[in-house]
Symmetry: C2
Subunit: 224 residues, 2 copies
């Protein structure tokens, strides 16, 4: 499995092989085919079930299942169906923008610009009403404006750290990262869910004791 | 990427590395970690964006995005949030039962028994109330009892055939399969959505003309 982030000006998949469907439904199917590329965008984390890296489609599915299982721990009540829609859509822009690893500060600098260009391109494939609807889901998630978006962001942050724990380190081994870096980058989990925030703290404490995260207060901390 | 279907009596992933969380939340996290295995269950179809085979987690995510994009074509009104939950859960049993390819009649014979044993094991990891809730979602999907389940099944059947079209054949090349096999196995798409049924017919007709499906009325037909 290799990382194949597409350039934003690359031809669409359906331009290589046009579907025999036109009009509104043709635009919707072109979008549905194009998003297949999310399966080729690799993340930094490795799976719990295998030694290979996770991709964005797998990650998005995992969140979509975590949301209904864990929704009872949201400190503000959330609409579960809407929260699942947020997580299904939240990483689509990475089709053209690529994944920005949580502990990679250099990539995080240019992230916003790359993702905005990707959103224009991708959501613009849909009929206008749906382009607005799906773009609004992504904006809602990014801005953490609603209880659903805050809980979706918390689950999005918990998942790779849970995979790190199962891998006995994973991306916690990124040079410069210490327990305090991980505490800072995961602090907003507890803003949306006190209980899940406590889970994250237990994972970090236990990983430090096991030597899976460098202990101590030095190292990269930075914003959440 | 290789196929790693787990045996139903294999230790859980969290038994290899127990999480530092107990009680109800501990059971929920054990389930969330165990379902990571869905990312290792390979399907017969290849991606539109790459030459490799798709896995069940990627497929489930793709359906979860297709549902809100295509819900307007359901002939009976559907609750979009609930339909997304059905597709997120629908393939979980394949973690222990493996994927049963649409055009593999031999595997289809033992499918039900393998999937029931898998459901007992997997949903039983959850706290009792959620075990009932998630098992009910899977039962609803399998029985096509509700408009949401019928639409979810239609989208589940459309997706691999859309990937086949983008691959210029894919699993349509399974020995013995002809245009009429594909017509029979996809007929229930039109039962849930007249418009998506017509899309499927256009894909098959065009694939026959392009030589991507063996034409003619011979071959494996069998139940949908």
């Amino acid at each position: 499995m290799c990382d194949r982030v597409a350039r934003v000006e690359e031809p669409l998949l359906v331009e290589r092989r046009p579907l025999p469907v036109e009009g509104r439904l043709g635009r919707q199917l072109a979008f549905i085919v194009e998003v297949d590329r999310l399966k080729t965008v690799l993340r930094a984390s490795t799976l719990a079930a295998d030694a290979r890296r996770e991709n964005d489609a797998e990650h998005s599915w995992h969140l979509a299942l975590m949301v209904p299982v864990l929704a009872e721990y949201a400190d503000e009540p959330v609409d579960v169906g809407h929260t699942i829609k947020l997580v299904v859509v939240h990483d689509l822009v990475e089709i053209y923008a690529g994944d920005t690893p949580l502990y990679d500060d250099e990539a995080r600098v240019s992230q916003e610009e790359r993702e905005l260009a990707a959103a224009e391109r991708l959501f613009g494939l849909l009929p206008d009403d749906q382009a607005v609807e799906f773009r609004a889901l992504w904006d809602e998630f990014e801005a953490r404006r609603t209880p659903e978006a805050r809980f979706a962001k918390a689950v999005d942050r918990l998942e790779p750290n849970l995979l790190n724990w199962m891998a006995g380190g994973g991306t916690w081994g990124t040079p410069g990262v210490t327990g305090d870096t991980v505490r800072a980058r995961t602090a907003h989990i507890g803003d949306a869910s006190h209980a899940l925030g406590e889970v994250m703290v237990s994972l970090i404490d236990s990983a430090e004791r096991n030597g899976w995260i460098a202990a101590g207060q030095q190292g990269v901390v930075g914003p959440a």
